[in-house]
Symmetry: C7
Subunit: 96 residues, 7 copies
Amino acid sequence: MANIKPLGQRVLVKRIEAETKTAGGLFLPDTAKEKPQEAEVISVGTGGRDDKGALIEFTVKPGDRVLISKYGGTEIKLDGEDYLILSENDILAIIG
Amino acid sequence: MANIKPLGQRVLVKRIEAETKTAGGLFLPDTAKEKPQEAEVISVGTGGRDDKGALIEFTVKPGDRVLISKYGGTEIKLDGEDYLILSENDILAIIG
Amino acid sequence: MANIKPLGQRVLVKRIEAETKTAGGLFLPDTAKEKPQEAEVISVGTGGRDDKGALIEFTVKPGDRVLISKYGGTEIKLDGEDYLILSENDILAIIG
Amino acid sequence: MANIKPLGQRVLVKRIEAETKTAGGLFLPDTAKEKPQEAEVISVGTGGRDDKGALIEFTVKPGDRVLISKYGGTEIKLDGEDYLILSENDILAIIG
Amino acid sequence: MANIKPLGQRVLVKRIEAETKTAGGLFLPDTAKEKPQEAEVISVGTGGRDDKGALIEFTVKPGDRVLISKYGGTEIKLDGEDYLILSENDILAIIG
Amino acid sequence: MANIKPLGQRVLVKRIEAETKTAGGLFLPDTAKEKPQEAEVISVGTGGRDDKGALIEFTVKPGDRVLISKYGGTEIKLDGEDYLILSENDILAIIG
Amino acid sequence: MANIKPLGQRVLVKRIEAETKTAGGLFLPDTAKEKPQEAEVISVGTGGRDDKGALIEFTVKPGDRVLISKYGGTEIKLDGEDYLILSENDILAIIG
């Protein structure tokens, strides 16, 4: 797979199909107004810096299952599969 | 239940049905222009950091009954029940 | 009465009927473009923090009579009476 | 007169009729695109604080004649006369 | 002339008629999309303060000929002549 | 080739044709809602400064293959080929 | 020529006709969506100050050939030639 290193505070994620029910019973309804989607974090970005120049650490790490907003990010296709590059701020939650 | 850890200053809440009248007599009218809703805090997020890099503590904690704006947050369904992920800033008040 | 603790820099106020003329002769005309309303402060919030992390003190206190903008805040009903939760910044003045 | 203490950096002013020509010959034309109005400062607010927590002093004081933008502020009526509550930032100039 | 002291970082200027060609040959065409205008600085304001509370000094001074944007500021009439109160930031250049 | 030095945090990039499949198999679908595009970094800018006046270093360097948003930047033509000047913040990822 | 000193971080530039091909072969196509234009820096402004009050130095200097966005700045005519006053931030690149 091509090595994609997101810039700044962006992360690269891979969507998990909506019909996949998680072990804990998470289910994402089709009827929700703003439907979040499950995704897996593939890689985190080069990092951002705060107002004092200190590196901002990522809260998510590769392998984390996350909930993302349906409308955020930019789609790319890689080896036939869909990926998204989005800001870590657009990740709603980590599914533990 | 799946473990959902909200990212940053977000919290996970579970709505309490509107017809539920609280012990203290709180009643949320159907006719209010922007009707708030009662909810219970399920979990708080990974936390944010202020401009000086200090961790921002949450004011609410799991188990708190809160008033939330009707239109904020993102809905998710978990084990057949509706939950919301929303920013702590969108919580109007704690019902004590 | 249910104990409602507003979050952050919000305050809970109770509107005072517009026909109530204050001792000092304050009268709020129906024709004013953006008509303010009199209200009584019931409780102040959990407080906010400034950029340096210091707690921001409230200028109003419970019992203060205040002028609020007609359109701000979120309405709630409690024991049959209307209340408003609004930011302290949306309070125009204290009526002394 | 009811004691009205504006909150934060707001001031209470009383409009001076437009036909009143000042001693210095100031005249406010009806045809000006954004017509400023003369007003007298009645009282200043409780004050704001800057980013470092220091109290911001008011530049105007009660009794100052000022020019205000026609469209700013909120109208209130007090003892039969019109007053305005507006931010000090919306005062254009002091008429000396 | 009435003494007009602009508030904050505002300045009071007097327009110079567009047909007045400056000594250096500056000419302001009627066809320019956003036509600047020549003006003379009459007085500077009470001054603003930066984020650290230090007084911000004015770059222009009374008597300076300046170029201002056609659409900025608020018009006032004083002793039969047009003046403008505008922010120093809306002054494009000093004509030396 | 003319020497083009972008100002501030801008970079100069040259688009890589969309049909070019990278060694790693990156493929950019025509149907993606906001289609990113591959580009090569030609030169980086004169640099920006953060709030404390420290120079902000570029994360990308000349020769890097990057993904850019389809709609960002300003097109220029140089020796018959298309280039883009865009902010480094509009580069989504580095293709390694 | 009249001496025009731009205020703050503005610069005064003189457009170079689009048909002028630079030595390095830079050519600006008519069909580009947002067509940049070549210009020569005539003078730089009085300078701005950053958040800490330090003077911000200009990156461009008089005599530099620059690329500017087609839509930025304010046109003035001086001794029969067109000039532009624009913010240094609206200069895309220096042509070396």
